[in-house]
Symmetry: C4
Subunit: 228 residues, 4 copies
């Protein structure tokens, strides 16, 4: 069942230790089959060294398990809300990658300080607001997704394919699971460089709107000219 | 003698270089057989590259050597005090892992700034007070243990399975040697992220009690739902 | 065609992931055959894992493709301006290496704080000015090159073989592609050490002119005595 | 000739890339045969990947070459001054390891902030004064050695087996080449932890004299009890 998607989601999950985005099991990647309306996600708390493609869990968009011997990631309800709200998204990732998590813990959005950022994120990477006590105590993971959706608002989620959750860590997404991981790697790198930028020049480092446009649009959209 | 425990303690010690928690021989892990009242610990100053399971040293809770050709870790008396005071603890680790040691040298507890911390430590990771000159000059290693026990106080040691010793470094523990090492790896990662959090937002980054509860209790205790 | 140069440029490009100067495809190296007036450069957006010597693209100094199945690096026009202005230069590199990029994003030149810097760069590594909106909107990559040339001015480009572009990242060069990469590795290391120097002593850390002279000139020029 | 010493010095040099103390050729280790009055040192500017035991250069204490096809390290005259002044020293190392170099560039001694430091260095790791212009312009490398000797003064060099040279980088030493490298690795680690300690607590982090004594003396001298 969904053999190809399971393989893709498995491989995307295995990129997390390879790219040093996770310590132990602190991350999860999912992918969606839009036609079938089914999600494939990493099982909860299983070590990457033991993970196999067939361990991936299949659920529907109500969170109902469809196939798999394991319980899905404890963050599954967050993924589901994002898939429901963001129709363009085909893959989602959550990690506690250390630089992005530092910004999330500081409750700060990552300003666009340069072209490394602008090549992927068309503006600041926002930090979503803290959840209220009630949102935490009832359906915490689902509400995490809803607050992300609230923060993204009218922005096209593909233009800024990542976000920070206050006191928590980053989520990122893409057209499929592999692109979601790619964007999470970039988010971590951008978070690191932005940290050092601020230390070197605490006042004025923002990229101009013109340079932001130039770099984002030379890689994305109909007039892009980067790549083959 | 205690062949299985020696193997576990050996493997836990070998995780230290693998996880980059130690430079040279700057760390030690022990485990206890509660039924026999015997401790197994790394020998003092032996290189990890040369370490073998049979090199592990066996002692009783009075520090009396029971088996082994080597002298035990010079920190053995600290381990013993912790085993005597914390009945739930089955494994203990001491390292000079660099981020945790920076906090220890700064004499500061690590505040709970996010869910990465809350998933493992149910509150700030305390920094124990400095030893008095007299405590240093008489039975230094034993007194290090006693000051840790004093700092933990009435807290269940399993709820915050690690501590910093002022101007020294971290100790961590768990239900066995492997879990102790796991908690030491997390402590180091949490120390690193907290450092960067403070630089990004020196004023207000603390996690709310509600989110701390949510994350700690979704992984620990009778209503936990993380993992399989 | 230019088989030897393609091999050198290919190998220089492969040093980027080896030396951890790039994430994904964020870098490019070129080399020039001055006699033929031809440039060899990495193709745009091709993964390093898949890159082969024969994938290198050959162009003339007007940017006209001469050989190769791929499109050249999107930064080719910048390389061309540098080759046209700096006759001594035989190889050029652009990366987003994180420490150098932090300085570039901060809009700051890297002061010469020590002999590590002085061994390679005979003075501060300058940060070129931001491009005007018009320069960005018309022939951005070419204008990036022209602003670098403007910044270098009358300085011999071989004496300070690297530069930062504001809100962007570093360029470096050398007598060939291999030396360009070597200088980019040094620039990244120097950027890292200078960052920490400033934190430790925000006021006065500059190297004296005499020590700068001593170290630069013991490695470069007719009285050099470093190496074999 | 001095085959055993050449092998030891070669192996000590190879630890530099292994322990990540050097970029390219930025380091050198030497050893001395006190009976013969001969020094063995790395050749200048030779890549570590190509280095062989027989490439080591042999000199006498006047710097006169005795054997070897290569020119010795350009820092040889510094090594010689240290061997002449410090009779207990059997091996010397110089690197540009990044954390120690940051302190050197900042012109600051590394205070003893904890037991990691105290286990090896019996007090602050000093930063030697800058050389005068005249000292730089005449016999620079020899004068670097003389200023180190001046800074160490009446201290037993084995009690604090390392130093920083202002705007330059660290030197370290030991009873042989292997111990010198070991001490340089520790110096780098201590420099890193001290950097982060100061950021976390800019005011008061110093280790007490009693704890410094305890840790240094449990590893060194006649009452030591660390190790086998």
């Amino acid at each position: 069942m969904l053999k190809e998607l399971k393989k893709l989601v498995y491989e995307a999950n295995m990129e997390l230790p390879n790219r040093k985005l996770v310590t132990y099991t602190w991350g999860n990647v999912s992918g969606i089959d839009r036609k079938e309306g089914l999600i494939v996600i990493k099982p909860s708390g299983v070590n990457y060294e033991e993970l196999k493609p067939e361990d991936m869990v299949v659920l529907d968009l109500n969170g109902k398990p469809v196939e798999g011997k394991y319980k899905p990631s404890s963050d599954t309800a967050t993924h589901i809300e994002l898939y429901k709200a963001f129709k363009e998204v085909g893959g989602i990732i959550h990690t506690h990658s250390p630089w992005a998590t530092a910004w999330a813990q500081a409750g700060r959005s990552i300003p666009s300080y340069g072209t490394t950022h602008a090549d992927y994120f068309y503006g600041a990477i926002p930090c979503a607001r803290s959840l209220t006590d009630e949102e935490i105590n009832t359906e915490y993971e689902k509400n995490t997704g809803l607050v992300i959706v609230e923060t993204v608002g009218d922005t096209n989620p593909m233009n800024i394919p990542g976000i920070l959750c206050a006191n928590h860590g980053p989520f990122a997404w893409g057209k499929d699971a592999a692109e979601a991981v790619h964007n999470a790697v970039v988010l971590e790198e951008v978070a690191k460089i932005a940290f050092h930028t601020e230390t070197l020049n605490p006042k004025e480092s923002h990229i101009s709107q013109t340079l932001l446009d130039k770099h984002y649009l030379r890689k994305h959209g109909k007039n892009s000219y980067y790549g083959q």
